[in-house]
Symmetry: D2
Subunit: 235 residues, 4 copies
Amino acid sequence: MNITIWNEFRHERSKPEVAEIYPNGIHTALADGLALLLPAATIETATLDEPQHGLTQERLDNTDVMLWWGHAAHDEVDDGVVAAVQQRVWEGMGLIPLHSAHASKIFQRLMGTGCMLRWREAGEMERLWVVDPSHPIVNGLGVECITLPETEMYGEFFDIPQPDSVVFISWFAGGEVFRSGCTFSRGKGKVFYFRPGHETHPIYHNEQILRVIANACCWAAPNDAPYTKEARSIV
Amino acid sequence: MNITIWNEFRHERSKPEVAEIYPNGIHTALADGLALLLPAATIETATLDEPQHGLTQERLDNTDVMLWWGHAAHDEVDDGVVAAVQQRVWEGMGLIPLHSAHASKIFQRLMGTGCMLRWREAGEMERLWVVDPSHPIVNGLGVECITLPETEMYGEFFDIPQPDSVVFISWFAGGEVFRSGCTFSRGKGKVFYFRPGHETHPIYHNEQILRVIANACCWAAPNDAPYTKEARSIV
Amino acid sequence: MNITIWNEFRHERSKPEVAEIYPNGIHTALADGLALLLPAATIETATLDEPQHGLTQERLDNTDVMLWWGHAAHDEVDDGVVAAVQQRVWEGMGLIPLHSAHASKIFQRLMGTGCMLRWREAGEMERLWVVDPSHPIVNGLGVECITLPETEMYGEFFDIPQPDSVVFISWFAGGEVFRSGCTFSRGKGKVFYFRPGHETHPIYHNEQILRVIANACCWAAPNDAPYTKEARSIV
Amino acid sequence: MNITIWNEFRHERSKPEVAEIYPNGIHTALADGLALLLPAATIETATLDEPQHGLTQERLDNTDVMLWWGHAAHDEVDDGVVAAVQQRVWEGMGLIPLHSAHASKIFQRLMGTGCMLRWREAGEMERLWVVDPSHPIVNGLGVECITLPETEMYGEFFDIPQPDSVVFISWFAGGEVFRSGCTFSRGKGKVFYFRPGHETHPIYHNEQILRVIANACCWAAPNDAPYTKEARSIV
């Protein structure tokens, strides 16, 4: 399995409090964490400020599952690159948009909705409840609820299409709920939106969060069924 | 539209604190509340201790939508009556199981799962967030969130099949979430499980709760499409 | 209820065989048919070659449900108009893309997929089987299956997200099947894709087809629940 | 993975034309076919006329995925055994009801509906179209459509709850369609109903059919997430 972790990689270079948590970037922390859980996977990274955002067609063609973290610079992502990623999802590449990637171009285009939500930065407690224990994404998790002591809040209404499955629903100390783990299929590709990951908290050092993301990679990897995305006239 | 409100009607007669809130029974409070919102509907009630639990075949045949409130005496409901109600749902009758009816025979049989959950009686605050604003059940609600200052807690994992739509997700002060408004279709019938309604709190005097239930009645009323529940051999 | 019927309106002016079936355009045939079934509705039409395709912001703001028929000129529809229609769907406007509108910009943008399919023009028989008899869209239909003696074939794989409900599945004499009636929610809006309607066959003069479209208008009309499409910070 | 193949095993002993196709029973043909595709699996069989139908609690507790084929003797299956199988599904055991098992007690209880359909024995052609190419159940299938030259017809309306995913839709030469491959979750367990398998046709010798069933076993095998089926009071 070839995994490409894409990261905006701006906050880590401009904000000391983020650099302290992720000195080599969120992408590197994720790569290190996943490498332990998926020793057979090939894991590479790509970032916004590389040429073509690090996402050449060759890279895309060789990627089975892509993670996507973006926040402050969604608009700087080239439309052509977004279209190429969307094509690859349709052809079978798994996509795992993380946290503030709810507002990324690629997620919005795949959903067809605005993908907005309510939010509050208060460092409050979040509890992610498992509401689909049959789903392979919770395999090996060992708990009915993941607790994050301090994080940013995301609240409903989360403006997404009805998910194929809602795996996690979050509770926030301040009074909100959120569909935090949602699956979607688009073409032959599988998408798992996963909420945790605010840059000012060490979320991607949490073993349970990494376990969920590793499981999601396995779940989202493409099968080899035929898929034709063009219209085809037959007689 | 003919609505039949079924109530176990035991707590109101044995517990003074419940009788204080519902002196004529939960079914009567619901009937009075719905009559104001649905003036064209014919609303009748039936209770456990009536002969055949008040649910003769004739009554069932004339019911478009049935509300069901039960709690302490699920096991006393006759299996034949449950089977007759299930048949009517398949034929198109809407069913709205309320609160502790999650553990009723009729709901369990229609779901095919155990329908259990976690719970706590602590008189804590609940907030019901709308997560499907496109659904007719939230029409006229006017708020993004219904707040109940004091109620019993129900928490996930709620052991139900994946709903057709999750309309409400609840937040509880103590740390839990719950899929509080869920739709299902079974045969030609529509089912809306709605969580609020603990007998020691005046939930069914709340205008927003009554509005949701009235909307659910309209949504669940049967259409006149053909439906055949028998296997049929054709040549 | 204000209904706007949008039509590309090219085939009817350039192809005599189409003009014979729809001398005043598909939009007019639909308007006449729906007027009989929905006498209380206000029905207007708009076409591609009008300024702004007939879809001013004022028109959009006053539309509850929009029908969309396009085929040969999807690319000529202005991106700004498409974006405005998409916004209105998110805010609650119902949208009913018909037949070859599967490849329209507006449908593709709302789905997030390519929306392609296989097809064959052979004037063969289609049977649309009802697979969700609980849905209000089949109300009053009176049959378990709509038969169209001659039409164009559309076959799977139809490249759409998993629908909220599949109401009709089509059988074609040549060996294909197709999810012909599919519902989706997007933001506060409801979408019903309905397959029948090839321009060289008198599909929109068929009473059962018109009944389904009229029902879909009623189902897709917006409720008045709150909906906020912007991200909102709360404290 | 421990697979238990349950078979009614009556037709093969009473009807020569069935015995010719399945001389050692449908269960043995399935076991032989799956053994080639899943060499690491432990595959056992059980039949109706064994004590306790071959389904002791110990056997159930050791089964990860169960296949179920029944037709003429659904009523002879003991209710206690059915309840024990249902409990195991809730706890995570995968269940794959095949063909006429649509009318088995276990499938009806898990669905909550009547599960009836229309049918015709005419030895006509069936084509199973893949409508969810993203699903692992079609992995390695290599075709967009499985063709069975001669089989029994099953037609809609198939009286089941809305599936989590419809993987296959069948076309029949005589004019019907059918949702032939449907997934459901119940508790922690996964269910895949798969239509092909009439006893008078050599369906379970077909390599593509066996591939689908083998994939379904892998998909339905339980994860190790926590699951509690009892109500639990918490403080």
